[in-house]
Symmetry: C2
Subunit: 332 residues, 2 copies
Amino acid sequence: MSKPSIPQGTRDFSAAVVRKRQYIFQTIRTVFETYGFQPLETPAMENLNTLMGKYGEEGDKLIFKILNNGLDNPAKLEQIKADFDKVLEGKNTKGITERALRYDLTIPFARYVAMNFGQLTLPFKRYQIQPVWRADRPQKGRYREFYQCDADVVGSNSLLNEVELTHIYQTVFNQLKVPVEIRINSRKILAALAEVCGGADKLTDITVAIDKLDKIGLEKVKEELTQRGLSNEQINTIEQYLQISGSNTEKLATLTQLIGHTTIGAQGIAEVQHLLNYATNIDALVADFTLARGLNYYTGIIFEVKATTVQMGSIGGGGRYDDLTGLFGVPN
Amino acid sequence: MSKPSIPQGTRDFSAAVVRKRQYIFQTIRTVFETYGFQPLETPAMENLNTLMGKYGEEGDKLIFKILNNGLDNPAKLEQIKADFDKVLEGKNTKGITERALRYDLTIPFARYVAMNFGQLTLPFKRYQIQPVWRADRPQKGRYREFYQCDADVVGSNSLLNEVELTHIYQTVFNQLKVPVEIRINSRKILAALAEVCGGADKLTDITVAIDKLDKIGLEKVKEELTQRGLSNEQINTIEQYLQISGSNTEKLATLTQLIGHTTIGAQGIAEVQHLLNYATNIDALVADFTLARGLNYYTGIIFEVKATTVQMGSIGGGGRYDDLTGLFGVPN
């Protein structure tokens, strides 16, 4: 008999911890509801084709797939063997796995909206507090099962949604007595940087490299950009961009000099400026153009929340994505 | 692009339904805590060897296994192919799947107790309200993802635990305004029936057949018992047993005539009598010797709760199991 254990990267929660977590979830739930968000719950399992291709190549590899049952059916032996050969090539096949554990709450939400679009009253504001699963390398503060607490709006282009979300962040973390900085950027600003560096085809390379700045530092980011084929001149521009500093106003002024002449850059700057103008009572709001966010689906303002009194990764994040349900054939 | 859908047997819960479910869970949680049960949460995933072999052969087949990542690693190709051959034979292998979704909350609880036995103060009373997953055929009222709400006691032999659990059932369903019958039996009574029919080796056959009585009726149960090799005389005894009727007192009197002369039968009858004596204020308590429960780990009183005003399967169930952590090498 083997000694009992739990899977790497997962945790049991005893009574004292369950109560603390319930307090945190209840605080967040109450704030979300105060701002008019309604609860939604989706299944832990999604069809594999709902998830695949939505999180980038790295994300796809971190999805926990569920093995089909009945693979010992002798009548289907040949087909199953052929299907497994595809798995060995790194491809997916319904014969071996049709379902997977959700990787985040955003894609299941987009799937829900796409499935129920005709029945929803827009703007549709929902929140979702449920666990997600990632086959990531477990490490301090990084688990394979963890909760996300999402609030999303579909069917409104207004930047007031972003203003509202900064208020939600501030209220939640105030109530939880966790001092934070809410950092903002816009994907349009990153797109403008790519444009200034020679084109949209550089955007993913630049975003992926910048996303690692916190972890690996400027020199390594520059090395990675070189490896990704960017010229010294381009890297020089990106370095200038990454070194923008000062107050929010000062940063925006420097940024305007660097990318303000591009159409998309001017749009991004206007978005950030707009958010800063409307959220004047939120001291914690910091323009941070080094912010990139890992996922590809963002199109406008992106957020990241950092605790200022503890050394750890971000404790909140998100952003605007346009037409996410378009992934499921339902434009919005 | 395929039309978005969710996996068979799973559900999205919109705001109105989430709120109703939260009300139900909160009612149950409050009653559990009133009776001194403390919350516990365990991961959705367990190591496969924690789950396998605990639910009987049928149960094993209904476990959702999680596919290992990295099966396209060329360096391990031969080993992975060999491992998959075992899957094709209906065996499990760590090379293909190491983890699975929990099938119930009882085995994860036993695993938790076994892992933390030295740290627990006995009796240890915990409750757990979390989803479980079963690769069952979806049908009305039967889903592949559903919540269980469990309250368990470890480290006490007292039958007052059973008395307390009947009070919990009554209080919860009273508060939810769902009229119920709480049916009780004892596995010792079923063991005595097997003994009267010729031995302990008949117990599983008899239990499995009786468990289907509700669904298939007496004649089909008798057919199944014939197929399982029981003689007409034995089946005649079982039929007498299944037809015991009347008030709780009348039923116990008839049962005593049938199996009361066996040691284990007398013990089982005493357990049921004890519970009925102490839970006098619970009108809903009904001795029902046709009650069997599907899972094998029960050893004493078993429960099943039926709504009296709606036609559906049981809405609660459980029972006493002795030394469940023994499965993990930790006797209790």
